[in-house]
Point group: C2
Chain length 115, copies 2
């Protein structure tokens, strides 16, 4: 299948974006949620480098291009209604700009009852 046929199966929102859940392959940890436009998704599929669209900077970004914390993308999945994408990656270094492995490490809103 061609890349354009693949991206055509994804339902981007009105802003042309789709949320991307990023999961570490080895540990299973959910690393981050980011957004991709069709071009960022194409770049990911073509290169296996985790690529996204920054809503604040309004431009494509390749994860780790400045920080060195790159992502090798093993798998790309789309969910049952085709409006969310999942990247399964090997994360080099920290996924989070705060220096933690995952963006979800810092703030716990509800703790497990039996820890």
């Amino acid at each position: 299948m061609q890349i354009d046929e693949i991206t055509a199966r994804v339902r981007f929102n009105q802003a042309g974006l789709v949320p991307v859940v990023v999961q570490d392959r080895a540990s299973g940890v959910v690393l981050m949620l980011a957004w991709a436009d069709a071009e960022a998704l194409r770049h990911t599929l073509n290169t296996r480098r985790g690529t996204y669209y920054s809503r604040s900077r309004q431009q494509q970004w390749i994860k780790g291009e400045t920080s060195g914390s790159t992502q090798f993308v093993h798998e790309v999945r789309v969910d049952c209604d085709a409006d969310t994408v999942l990247y399964i990656v090997d994360q080099s270094g920290a996924a989070c700009h705060l220096g933690t492995r995952s963006c979800f490490e810092s703030d716990l809103l509800l703790a497990a009852e039996h820890d």
Copy 2:
């Protein structure tokens, strides 16, 4: 901390919603992505039942209330910029309305190179 203080820490989007990544506690599998408004998040925090907001039906929904596939929420985390929430759950039965454990099982856009 009061529930309202907790939900005040989350940055909901212009529609008053936040994306929620839902992960199975035991397996680490990413089950689904759904959306929550402040009321759905409050309900989750108060009851530990996975609760969301349906954008199509424009109403709150408690996962499993009709299907029986309920979610017990062990942890709720928010990411580094507070605009995505993560529920760590025990999923009873199938998370996906298609009957699969996860919503991401059906459609693989990019396969691992060495399977």
